[in-house]
Subunit: 595 residues, 2 copies
């Protein structure tokens, strides 16, 4: 019975995906209605089947079958926590990626590409508790391999291999990383997800690379339409100093730090309980910490902290505060200081950070409409919203894997980019490769680094609904070549090739004698700005008819608008066609990114 539930759920996903694809490609309402109806029926069947399972009191798999159903059915779906991105979505994702990569090279970065899997020992001991989320490859009689968990560790491995004399100090990587986490697909939290990383390595003067990275992320987020954003910054050395000043025992500093890290999700009272009851911290010490970590601000907060005599007397805190002072000076030169929030509650999970840490957050979170995305691997249904805490419950999924069901309505997109300074990681590799685990981070082979990871899926979850709402195109074909009468297939092919050779993006209907309205409809589905019509006479006399068309959103619907006075089209000489197309206003608007 469980397997018939799976099949139903698989079918619902497929129909869901189809529905969305049709909706986005502007399919006719009748077709949409039919798919919607089928979807409704399937969901009803699923409900009934689930009720039956509950009544039977059994979820054992494979024991019973829905009558009439055959056995060998395979599930047409992507793996849990992964999804396909169809043509319209990819057009938007490529646009976002192009901006990100362009900013990376504007800031002097060069691309690095590392394999999707690494030798397991390379990833071992880098992610603390989260190591359980690493995807391992099956041992098929060779090396022990794991899928990369982020881009930072492969970069550090690469830098250690290069031996520290690598002259390229700014490297970027864009690619997928893998975590066996609980997926919340609609908010862009997946098991396979795309990260764009930019890292600066090498020994430079204090806080200059740090300011470059902060300026870079501000440039990127300003260029992508993610809405208002803030860069929260803190410094590991200031945090450590605060813990020392407040009287946290040395062996409790990391665990208390990870309690502080939860302040963006939990109120102070809960964090304090964790510190005192779970982790045995003296309540008066916790209260002192509470006083410090509630502060947020700009340079004025820095002045206040510098005036705190206890803190200034602590060498770790003092070093961190001096760093922050320098950073603020540089961020003013970069003109991004108004985007910064010096946030004492920011702690960041990873152990390897040694200097400033930061997160970019946006006010907006993904709107509910985005939830119905195609090819969602997870089949969890949102529970009713509850305030403050995430609602999770233990479930067995179709593969018998125990998983938490996450209430999607309670999960924000969260930080869309994050990172920090990690001066010891490359040195760890160099030391381990030299067989000396006791070598310190400052020894030969160590390379100070700072970097940022941008969550491309989270950014896409913010940008995509706006993209759809604005009715942006999802293809860049500029010309559709068609012919009346006898089809003139070979003549169409020749013209298409001629235009493509001039680097114009052209398509035509792959039919021998298609009717003209069918060809127009095909061109309109691609929202092609130029329809070129060939005819016997036109070919003889060496010209073509060109109709210019564009689409506008009117009352939430896309409507074709012909250029003024262009209802009949324009006669253009074949020999000046390319030049003519490139000189039109529609062409220029497209090149300027307005269409």
């Amino acid at each position: 019975m469980a397997s018939s539930l799976d099949s139903l759920e698989g079918e619902i996903e497929t129909q869901n995906a189809l529905f969305n694809e049709l909706r986005l490609s502007g399919s006719d309402p009748a077709g949409l209605e039919e798919v919607k109806k089928k979807l409704g029926e399937l969901k009803k069947s699923l409900g009934q089947a689930k009720a039956k399972v509950a009544a039977d009191g059994s979820t054992a798999s494979g024991s019973k079958e829905v009558p009439g159903k055959k056995k060998e059915r395979i599930l047409l779906k992507t793996a849990k926590g992964t999804r396909d991105y169809g043509p319209a979505e990819m057009f938007c994702r490529e646009y976002v990626e192009r901006i990100v990569k362009d900013c990376f090279s504007t800031y002097g970065g060069s691309c690095l590409d590392t394999p999707v899997f690494e030798r397991k020992e390379i990833l071992a001991g880098k992610y603390g508790e989260d190591a359980k989320l690493i995807f391992d490859l099956m041992d098929q009689g060779g090396e022990q391999l794991s899928l990369r968990y982020d881009h930072t560790v492969p970069l550090a491995r690469y830098l250690a291999m290069m031996g520290g004399t690598n002259t390229q100090s700014k490297l970027w990587q864009v690619g997928k990383v893998y975590r066996r986490d609980n997926p919340v697909m609609s908010k862009g939290r997946m098991r396979e997800f795309s990260q764009a990383d930019f890292d600066i390595s090498g020994t430079w003067d204090p806080m200059i690379p740090d300011a470059e990275i902060i300026s870079l992320i501000c440039t990127i987020l300003s260029k992508i339409d993610v809405g208002e954003f803030t860069i929260k910054i803190n410094h590991r050395k200031i945090l450590d100093g605060i813990f020392e000043v407040c009287g946290v025992p040395a062996d409790k500093i990391r665990t208390i730090s990870s309690a502080v890290d939860k302040l963006d999700k939990l109120p102070w009272a809960d964090v304090k309980t964790e510190m005192t009851e779970e982790k045995g911290l003296d309540p008066s010490v916790a209260d002192k910490i509470g006083e410090y970590v509630k502060h947020k601000g700009g340079p004025e907060l820095l002045a206040k902290l510098l005036a705190d005599e206890a803190l200034s007397a602590n060498s770790s805190a003092k070093q961190g505060l001096d760093d922050m002072g320098l950073l603020f000076t540089y961020l003013s030169a970069y003109n991004v200081i108004d985007k910064i929030s010096f946030d004492m509650s920011l702690a960041r999970g990873l152990d390897y950070y040694t200097g400033i840490i930061y997160e970019a957050i946006v006010d907006a979170s993904a709107p509910p409409g985005f939830k119905a995305n195609p090819s969602v691997g997870s089949s969890s249904t949102p529970s009713p919203a509850l305030p403050k805490k995430k609602v999770t419950k233990k479930l067995k999924n179709e593969d018998g894997e125990e998983e938490e069901e996450v209430d999607e309505s309670q999960v924000g997109v969260g930080s869309i980019a994050a990172g920090g300074r990690y001066d010891g990681l490359v040195g760890m590799f160099s030391a381990a490769a030299a067989g000396d685990s006791k070598k310190s981070a400052t020894s030969k082979g160590s390379i100070p680094c700072i970097g940022i990871s941008i969550g491309l899926d989270r950014i896409f979850a913010l940008v995509w609904p706006k993209w759809v709402e604005k009715g942006k195109r999802s293809k860049e074909t500029m010309v559709y070549v068609m012919a009346a009468g006898d089809g003139l297939l070979v003549e169409r092919m020749k013209l298409v090739k001629e235009l493509r050779d001039a680097n114009i993006k052209v398509d035509f209907l792959a039919k021998k004698k298609p009717k003209l309205p069918v060809q127009f409809a095909a061109g309109e589905r691609d929202e092609v700005p130029f329809a070129i019509i060939l005819g016997e006479n036109e070919i003889k006399e060496g010209y073509v008819m060109v109709k210019q068309q564009k689409w506008e959103m009117i009352d939430g619907k896309k409507v074709k608008v012909l250029a003024e006075g262009d209802e009949k089209g324009e006669k253009v000489g074949r020999e000046r066609l390319v030049e003519w197309l490139r000189a039109t206003q529609i062409w220029k608007d497209w090149e300027d990114g307005k269409l």
Copy 2:
């Protein structure tokens, strides 16, 4: 002892990689010499250690250690058959990818992205014997997953999920695929490699999508500097017809077809032996096949085959010959007929092809110089060249995995793109999902498809040596901002930000008070065409000094050439700096792709 060999080999790889990186980044000769010396010493040690192992008559691992060596050493290397691509290489690869993607959209394609791993059942039964090369993920208490083996099967899965009403008929995918094959790194045959696929799906008029695909690959290969190329084309239905006409029993057709597939690597005599001795074919039947498959040519070969009465009487062959006739007509319209070789010996391995099949080949193969690439995972040493056959020998690698050592000097780059028509694959998925394994490919849910896969690594292996030889830049930074005297760090940052805000790619030295020559050297390492120098006076009076510089290959070495009359630089007003830069000849040449 074995593990100490591994360590030495790991170190040699690291030093090799370092050496290449330094050489490409134009490092100083003294530094290069030092690395080279160290490399020599390491190789000597390796030789001695290997000799010792041989003398000991033991390769048991972990039993002995080189004196003074500690135990916990990890191997700093990428997984077998995978490699990093450093900044210079990635700059070239991105250039190749950009051309490919641009051609894809010029031909009306839209991007599709599928996950790197699939549910194992999706890949099952698609690759015949080669299924053993699929990388499986470890069962960590969830679904059974495998890394994708190509882009074709995930595409077919996607199309089947979309249910055949998908309106986007031209889809492209660019990404990595995975095969546990014997790597020959220097020739671009790896376990992780990049493929760019373009597929046309849907029911269109005969041979039009087929001609689009052939024209597309000709366009791409002409735009990338791969040298002379040929597209070999054959038709599965013609091959099957030949086998029928020659008298091959129906149950032997596929196995005889795969013998024919080896004709590009083996002489006819060997293939005949395989057919007759291994596969039990009557020698006279084999001889008849031999007569047919030796033919290569253009439209004139088609005429000859059509005149062959036995062949024309065979319905399968007749259908294939008619298809080819139509295809030749269309390929003439696309003006690519001179690139085509109708090659009766082309058979292609995969079972699922149903119509035309094709391969793009180049005369050139990767030159020996490319062998010394960085981060090569395999440590096999080429054996002396032997004629005709590949030289392989069984070895145990560092993980105890048995592997074949391939003589790299005997492996060509081979086909750089290949594909064919597969009208039944999507239908297989639809049928399997509906639980009906007997549904035919022509039933509802079936979608005819044709596609091509371009081997990006193989193309890179051809393009990269020329790229290096021509001394092309490996970075696109246009401006390096520097200052004399007091360093003027904040002023440099302000100018850098100003230029970056105008979308100019700019960098500067991340030091507070760097000496001017050090800044010039840093800019020259990036081969930046504009050096901008700030000074106290310049800032006060609102101008900057700009030096234009370019690099030329003179006697195989890159040499900086100052623009004529520009030895002292030029005074440019700050307010017109952006405009001025964009108006220079160097800038325009760069934009036109000449630099």
